[in-house]
Amino acid sequence: MRKLFGLLITIALGVMIILALDKTSAFPKFGEVDLQERISSQYLTEENIEMVGSANIVTAIVVGYRGFDTLGEVTVLFISALGVAFIFGGTKQKRLDLKFKPNFMLRVGSNVLLGIILVTSLYIILHGHLTPGGGFPGGAIIASSVLLLYLADDKFRSNVKGFKLMEGIAGSIFVVVGLLGLIFATAFLENFLPVGTVGQLLSAGIIPIIYVLIGLKVGSEIAGVVDNFLTEEESA
């Protein structure tokens, strides 16, 4: 009876959402959206793309035009990591004893996979201005490789102090790059480097630099969160 009730509610909600979104002015048919209504048409002109120099228009908006918002997003993530550390952290910590011993296959397999995952994350971060992806997903992939290390060895602790240091340095350099924009150009986080050819790896001015910094910061932050989840205070 309870299951039937739950199923009915799920179906009703689904139908309601579909009916509410279907063919209204806010949700036109797929592929027929007039982009001019949604984003400023200034972003989409060809000369503007050449001015920003990012082949991926999402990155051009996220880091190029709305760089200050991205700084805020990074700050939000920092505050959430701070909250996790505040609840779980302590002075003396050891690995959580989960009564779970990694076997041979898991150990060897994760050693093989670790390199591939790290290289993928570097690729996603470095090509953030060319292909989909960028600093946030790339950093999360770095953190997932750290999680793999924790899975493969039940005594492993990563260098948490190093992560904290890297997080702080990357965040500070992000702000410094923004301030350099204030000095060499006119506004905070404005591009002050030559843009180069659209589509090349070394192009788009400060966007790749900022995305590498965001990748390092997000990666070390989430790795710190993973460490907090997998450790506990030593009972003296």
Binding site: L7, T10, L98, P132, S144, L147, V225
Partner: protein, 83 residues
């Protein structure tokens, strides 16, 4: 109906079904795994809607990190209960 519409319909129905299973399963660990499957299907839906940036983020965070953190939390809860 085009091929694209059929695929979107199938994925939409699967998303609803898995969401229902996630909130209605008896064991918490099953809920977490259904949530992970939901994220994976959402990735397919995002790719179909031509949003690869969102798809990558959802794949990494939704079905990777969040699932792992949930599983570890459940493991540590289980250990506390057995003590």
């Amino acid at each position: 109906m085009t091929f694209f519409e059929i695929i979107s319909l199938v994925i939409g129905i699967l998303l609803l079904a898995i969401a229902f299973m996630a909130i209605n399963s008896k064991k918490l660990i099953n809920s977490v795994l259904f949530l992970s499957a939901l994220s994976m299907l959402a990735v397919v839906a995002f790719v179909l809607m031509r949003a690869p940036d969102v798809a990558i983020t959802e794949a990494v965070i939704g079905s990777g990190l969040v699932t792992a953190l949930f599983v570890f939390t459940l493991l540590s809860l289980k250990r506390r209960e057995s003590e």
